[in-house]
Subunit: 489 residues, 2 copies
Amino acid sequence: MNASLQDSPLYQVLNPKSVVFFGASNRFTAMGSHQLNSLLEMGFPGPVYPVHPKEKTVQGLTAYGSAADLPETPDLAVMVLPTDLVADALAQCGRKGIKRAVIVSGGFNEAGPQGTGKEQELLKVAREYGIRLVGPNCIGVANPHHGLNTAFHVYDAKPGFIGMASQSGSFVTQMYQYMKPLGLGFSAAVSVGNQADLDLLDCLEYLAEDPNTKVIALYVEGLKRGREFMEAARRISPKKPIVAYYVGGSETGRKAGFSHTGALAGPDKVYDGLFRQAGIVRAASVEELFNFAWVLGSCPPMAGRDMLVLTHSGGPGAALADALGRAGLRLSELSAQSLARLEGLVPKTASLANPVDLTFTKDPLAYAGALPAALIKDENSQGMIMYTLLPGEKAERVLKEMGVPESETPAVAAQMAREQRDSLARISREGDKPFIGFTFWGYSDPMVAGLREIGFPVLDGPVAAARSMAALASYSEMRQRILASRAAD
Amino acid sequence: MNASLQDSPLYQVLNPKSVVFFGASNRFTAMGSHQLNSLLEMGFPGPVYPVHPKEKTVQGLTAYGSAADLPETPDLAVMVLPTDLVADALAQCGRKGIKRAVIVSGGFNEAGPQGTGKEQELLKVAREYGIRLVGPNCIGVANPHHGLNTAFHVYDAKPGFIGMASQSGSFVTQMYQYMKPLGLGFSAAVSVGNQADLDLLDCLEYLAEDPNTKVIALYVEGLKRGREFMEAARRISPKKPIVAYYVGGSETGRKAGFSHTGALAGPDKVYDGLFRQAGIVRAASVEELFNFAWVLGSCPPMAGRDMLVLTHSGGPGAALADALGRAGLRLSELSAQSLARLEGLVPKTASLANPVDLTFTKDPLAYAGALPAALIKDENSQGMIMYTLLPGEKAERVLKEMGVPESETPAVAAQMAREQRDSLARISREGDKPFIGFTFWGYSDPMVAGLREIGFPVLDGPVAAARSMAALASYSEMRQRILASRAAD
C-alpha cells in the first residue's frame, strides 16, 4: 500500500516529465514508429528523445545514438526493440540514471523456455540499476490527463474516469476508438504484459489513489500475487468500484491466456467467490467491463433492486423487463404518489404499469422532461432506466409544419435535442437514484451522442442496460457488507 | 400450411398492387402522416390512395373522402385512425370489396375490457366482408423487395434476407436503422400487434415459402396457437432456420408483455423444450436475434463444435476463446497439415496454438489472404472466426513512406481495404465451413463496413461472435435430429 499517489512506483511511469524512446524511426513499417507517433499526436508536454543508431532526426525530433548522449536524465524510457537488444538498452538507461521503463518488446516469458532466460536477464539488469519496469510484451501506458500515450493507436477519446490495468495491450490501445462514441475515456491505462516487475496489484494501488480515476477496470488472464491482490481490492473497493473481466475461468480461456501471457489461471467458481469477497464486480465480456465501469463511475450507489422503466415503445420495454429479471433486478409497482404526480401528464393510451409505456405522445418534450422528472421521485424504486430513442428527423418534419423556415429546422431540431439532453442530465443530477438510458441507435442518434458526451450513460441495448444496473446493485451490496464487517471488527 | 406463397392470406398484404391509406394528413404531428411518408419514400410502385375527410390532397397525392370514392379496389388498406373510427372505416373497405387490412390503431384488447369489445366488433366487420387483417395495435408491414413499407420509420436499410414476425412494432420499424450498418435488411417484416386475425403462425408459414427470406426471426411475447405453431416450425426449420427471442419466460418479461399486447406467456423451461423440439434457435436478446439471423442466413450448416480462431492480438483472441467455451464450443488443435501449410507464412513470434495469434506482422495482406486461406482448410475444425480489425489509417501511413504520393494514399488504402475484403469473401466462399469475423470498431472501420456490405458477417465483439457460432451449431444439430427422426418414421 502506498501512502500517496507519488509513492507508487507507477507514478513516474504515468506522469513523466520527459521520455526517451527506443525503437521508433521514420519508417512506419516499424511498430515503434506508430507508438512514438501516438505520443507526439497526444501533445505530450515534456521533451521526447528518440534513440536511433543511424538517424539524426526521427519524426522531426533530434535523435540520439544512445541513452548516454541524452542532454538530461529522462523520467521514463519506452522500448519497442527487437528482443535481443532490450537488455543492453536497459543497461544504457541504468547507467544514465533512468529509473522507469516500459518494455513493449515481446519474445520473453510468453515465448517459452528460451524467452524465460531473457526475461530473467532483463530483471537482473533492472535490479542492478534500480529500474522499475512495465512489461515486457505489453503495448504501453496512457495518462490522457497528462498528455501521455505510448501505445500503438492514437488516443482520440477524451480524458476520462476509467482507470484500466490490462493483461492485454489490445484492451488498452484498441479501446480508444471503442470508447470514443460512448463519451468515455481512460483516466490512466497500463498494459502490464508479462508483469516481470510491476503488476496488476501495483496498478490497482496506483489507480486507487489517482484522483482522475472514478472506477478501476481490470482485464485479467491470471493473477500473480493473488492473496495480496484480493486483500488490496477489499480495502479499495468500498471507496472506488473495481470491475474485472477474467477470462481464465473457462477451459478455453485458460488455455488461450496461458499462451498469450503465460498466466496461470484458477477455476471460475473460485474466482467468483474471491471477487465477491473482495468487492470486485465481475464482467462477462470486454464490452461489459466498459459498460459496468461506465455506470459504476457515473451513478450514485443504489439502495435496492427495484427498477422503474420509462419507454415509448412496448417491445423495448418488454425486452428490458425480461433482461432486468434475468439480471436479478425487479420491476417496482408505481407508488400512489407517483400515480398522482403523473396525472395530466400521460395520454389515455398510456399504460400506467411499470414499464411506463407512452406509445405515441403528442408532446415529445414531456418524454425527456416532466415525465422522468416525476418518475424519478418514485418511492418504490431505487433506480430508473429509460428508452432514449428520440429520432431527430421526425422533429425536423414537425418543426417545418409548425412554421419554422426549412433552412432553420436542422438548427432548431439540434437545439431541441440539446434541451432534451440537458433536461435529462438535470433530472439525473437532482434525482437521488441511478438513472441511465438505453438505445439501439447508439452511434447514429444525435440526442444519444449528446447525452453520452455530457456523461449520462446510454447503453447499447436493454440487456447491457439491465446487466449494468445489476452490477451497480451488486457493487452497492458488496460495499455495504464490507463496510459493515469492517465496523464490526 | 399453404400450397404456395400466393395462397397465404399474407401474400396480398405483403405484395399489394395498390394501397388505400386512412389516417394520414399533411400534418406530421399525426403518426399516420409519418407512416404514409414511409410508404412514399420507399417508392412503392403502385397507386396509393389517401382517404381524408377534408383535405383534397395529402402529401401530394389526390385524397378521397371515403373508400367508396376510390377509382379502383385496392389490394390493401392501412389504418392509423383513432380507435373509434376503425370499425366504420373497415366496413367502408368491405363494401368496396377490399380484402386485406393492416390496422395500426391501438385501444383494443391491449387496453383492457373496454378495448376487448371493440376488437370483437372489428373482427365481426372483418368476417362479414371476408377481410383478413394484421393488427390492431401494430406498426405495419414491410416488403423492401416490393417497395413496401407502411411502418413509422423510413426504410433505409437494403432489401435483405431476414423475414421477421414480431409482437413488437418497434422491433420492425426501429430496427431499420439498427440493421443498416450491419449490412442487413428485412426480406419481409410483419408487426402482428394483437393478432386479432392473422398471427405469428400465418407469418411463419408465409416466410417459409418466401424466396427472399433465408432465415426467419421472431419476437415472441406469448403464442396464440401454440401447438400448431410448434408443429409448423418443426416442419419448416430443417429447410429454413428459425430464430426466436421470447421474453415471456421471465416473470418481469411476462408481466410487461401482458400489458403490451395482452399475450399469455408460458414459463421459460417449457418454451426451451418446445423450441428445441421444433428446431427453433432461441436468442437471449433483440441484438442476438439479429446476430443469429445474420450468421444462420449467411453461413453453411456447421458439422461440429471445434473452432479455429485467427487473431493478431492476444487479448481479443483470449476473450473469444473464453466466450467460445462458455457458449459450448471448443478450440480445435491445429492439424498436422495446417501446421505444414502455415510454414513460411507466420513470423517467429507468432503462436501456433489455437487461437492462431500473429501479434505484429510485417505483411498485413497475408492476414486477410494467405493465412485464412490456409487455415480454413484445417482438418480438425468445423468453423473459423477471425478478429477483423485492420485499421486503415495505419495503412495510409505505410503507403506514404513506400512512395505513394500523399494525395493518392487514401484511394490506394481504400483499394487495399477492398482487396482484403474481397479476399476474405473469396476464402469464405471457397471454404467448406462457416467463417465469420468480429470487431470492436463496428461502425467506424471501413474494412468492416465493406465486409458487412458484401454479406460477410462481422459481429460486434467476441461474445456475439461465439454465441452466434454456437447458435449455428445448435441449429445444425437440431436440423440433423429432426431429419433423422423424419427418415425413421
